[in-house]
């Protein structure tokens, strides 16, 4: 049996990026494939900027957190109104 996975997830990476995309696959070491991803760039002075990225394979080492996005809740959020510092980079420790 085969079913199409269409879960939208948010990944927080070790270097503090927030990447949102459609979850396509993963393995033992938490390497993850995301399609149609975009990065959400948070800033304290401006609203959230969205950068299109495309198809990504993110290495498990670089992943902090994978969250399933509630699309309804996400749609109700006005990203341009959000001000927040970027997440701390822990990749160079």
């Amino acid at each position: 049996m085969r079913f199409v996975i269409t879960v939208t997830v948010e990944i927080i990476t070790a270097d503090g990026r927030v990447i949102v995309g459609t979850f396509k696959g993963f393995d033992q070491t938490t390497n993850v494939i995301l399609s149609s991803c975009h990065e959400r760039v948070f800033s304290e002075t401006e609203g959230v900027e969205t950068l299109p990225l495309g198809l990504y394979i993110i290495r498990g080492d670089n992943i902090v957190l994978i969250g399933e996005i509630d699309l309804e809740r996400d749609a109700s959020v006005d990203l341009s109104e959000i001000r927040a510092a970027p997440i701390t980079d822990i990749s160079r420790r």
Binding site: L65, I66, D89
Partner: protein
């Protein structure tokens, strides 16, 4: 394996996980694996004003390697039992080995 077994006994409890990037998340523990990767349900950032990054996230997977602390409800932990289990594991350094 002790901590893996221990965390499994905590499934269903509300815990707070503090990550190495200082982000702290509260949620219901739903799953743990051998790497101490953690799954949480009904999550929220402890400091929601500082971390709106996951506002629309309802459940999440946290990589074990980035966890700094896990805060547990004291009532859910039997420390005497845990000490006992730790001693037993210390007596048998090789898993499934000696005796």
């Amino acid at each position: 394996m002790l901590f893996y077994s221990f965390f499994k006994t905590l499934i269903g409890q509300q815990v707070t996980v503090e990550l190495k990037n200082d982000l702290a998340i509260t949620g219901i523990l739903t799953s743990v694996d051998q790497f101490l990767n953690i799954k949480l349900d009904e999550i929220r950032a402890v400091d929601e004003a500082k971390y709106p990054h996951m506002m629309a996230v309802k459940n999440c997977f946290i990589r074990g390697s980035v966890v700094r602390y896990v805060q547990l409800p004291a009532s859910a932990v039997d420390t005497a039992l845990l000490q006992d289990a730790a001693r037993r594991e210390a007596q048998q350094p090789t898993t499934g080995g000696a005796h």
